[in-house]
């Protein structure tokens, strides 16, 4: 059953690591939600004493005092995001480039199946794969909030989760598309990782330096969390940018994969 087609096999191959990534994400969400009542109040006090530009960087004291503001800073701006970068880029890279470099792609395509079909099923697997670890963060937060007896905006959490899913798709499909277009694992991993790291650096530097403000638009994180979807809801065009990155990467990868020599 699990080897009925490429989609199911790909999901099956990744299920153990998806499980561990998701368990980790759940633990992170849970831990931070449990810590919120104690940590947030002391953090808020600390933040009030910080210079204004630092507050701009990590969020205002008032924001930090709410679960949505606190959880936006961590895990959603930090560890859960980094984990999703690692997860999605790894999966995207593994879809075509790793199969090609491991010399199993020839064997796969020796069957009556088209390159497009392989690509579509691998893409679908990436879409499905990212859902569980993203949802796990939210579930962890909900459990933590329940235990500590405070409420979290469900709508905000859903929109934050959707935004995390979209940025995961953006970096994942960037890796998948580049891997399919070039057959290079190095490029498939390196370019999206660079986009994520540079985006992250810009995202943390822009609030500190006024003159860099316009640079925020070239940071992928701006479209993920720039308008703080946990607190303010999703900004449609920001989500659109993330979707567009994923879609363009997908189309570019499909076109090149269908028109190049396989290694």
């Amino acid at each position: 059953m699990m080897y009925s087609n490429i989609l199911l096999k790909t999901l099956r191959d990744g299920q153990r690591s998806t499980f561990f990534f998701s368990a980790g994400q759940l633990a992170i969400g849970l831990l931070l939600a449990l810590l919120f009542p104690d940590v947030a109040s002391s953090f808020a006090g600390m933040i009030e004493d910080l210079p204004e530009f630092f507050q701009a960087f990590i969020g205002s004291a008032a924001e930090f005092a709410t679960p949505e503001g606190f959880l936006t800073a961590d895990p959603y701006s930090a560890i859960a995001l980094v984990i999703m970068f690692a997860f999605s880029i790894n999966r995207g890279m593994g879809a075509i480039a790793a199969e090609e470099r491991n010399h199993t792609l020839d064997q796969l395509l020796g069957n009556p199946i088209s390159r497009t079909d392989v690509y579509l099923q691998k893409s679908l697997a990436l879409i499905v794969d990212c859902i569980l670890p993203v949802a796990a963060v939210a579930v962890g937060i909900l459990i933590g909030a329940l235990i500590m007896d405070y409420s979290v905006s469900i709508s905000g959490l859903l929109q934050m989760s959707l935004s995390l899913l979209l940025i995961s798709y953006a970096t994942g499909f960037l890796a998948l598309g580049i891997g399919a277009a070039t057959g290079s694992k190095t490029l498939a991993m390196g370019i999206p990782a660079a986009v994520a790291v540079i985006g992250y650096l810009i995202h943390i530097l822009v609030p500190l330096v006024d003159t860099l403000d316009d640079l925020k638009y070239i940071s992928i994180l701006h479209y993920y969390i720039g308008d703080k979807p946990f607190i303010n809801g999703l900004t449609p065009w920001h989500s659109g940018v993330l979707l567009a990155i994923a879609a363009i990467s997908f189309i570019f990868g499909l076109y090149r994969f269908n028109n190049r020599d396989l290694a």
């Binding site: 080897y3 009925s4 087609n5 490429i6 096999k9 191959d13 491991n102 010399h103 199993t104 020839d106 064997q107 796969l108 395509l109 020796g110 069957n111 009556p112 199946i113 088209s114 028109n259 020599d261 396989l262």
Partner: protein, 299 residues
Amino acid sequence: MTTNPVIKLENLTKHYGDIIGIQDLTLEVPEGEIFGLLGPNGAGKTTTIRLILDFIRPTSGKATIFGLSPRSDGTDIRRRVGYLPGDFVTYDHMTGATVTEYFTNLRGSHPSKLNALCERYQLDLSRKIVQLSKGNKQKIGLVQAFMNDPDLLILDEPTAGLDPLLQHEFQQMIHEEKEQGKTIFMSSHLMSEVEATCDRVGIIREGELVTIDTVSRLTELSLWTAKITFTHPVPPDTFNNLPGITITDQTDDRTFNLSISGEGSMDAVIKTAANHKVETFESQHASLEDAFLKYYSTD
């Protein structure tokens, strides 16, 4: 040659930048034939196979398989093809059973020969691929290529890693496939393998097809070799004026190793040698290996 060959290559050319993969390869393989592409590593054998299967695209020229284009009708072609890649590797974390199950599902056809093949090769499908020796991995490769009873088998270095007994088993299996009317296109750098299995062989050198003919004709091209030792020194040009006679080695002024090919005749060699006192005379029929080396030693 039949009017509808299973494989038809017309001036098929593949360049990788300045490097020639294959150049103007033209050949036809009719239904029911075992065709061997013979050449050393890097000669262009795998490139040819990968062009046939549309893994790479030709720089120029054309390939048709079952009258179809590999580019536009790839899935229809591959539905009828069993393929063994060179240096066969598969998913290490899977077992032989799950690998064959996976490829069966992708093919959407019943693996009618699976059990018989496993029995024949004494293959344990329950073990993970990573635990298998190179030879056993190659068996998995052969089983997955043959198990769906395809019309055309494309095998890239099929016996790599197999011990002599299994190589013999493979040769028998190839002949059984032929008896069932299957077409086989295989590459090899092993002359003995091609000689034992193929109806026709193409010798490929630096991407170009040097010659193509039946195995028997190719061996006839280099009909005989002879080693003559005289009791006393003879002039080095003794055999020079005989057509089709090549001195392949002259260890000293008494011993000559000759190759008799094309228009050369053994009669002329014996009569010329008889002008001197012969100590020993050995001759044997040339093998495909001799033919192969002849083509490779010619600049």
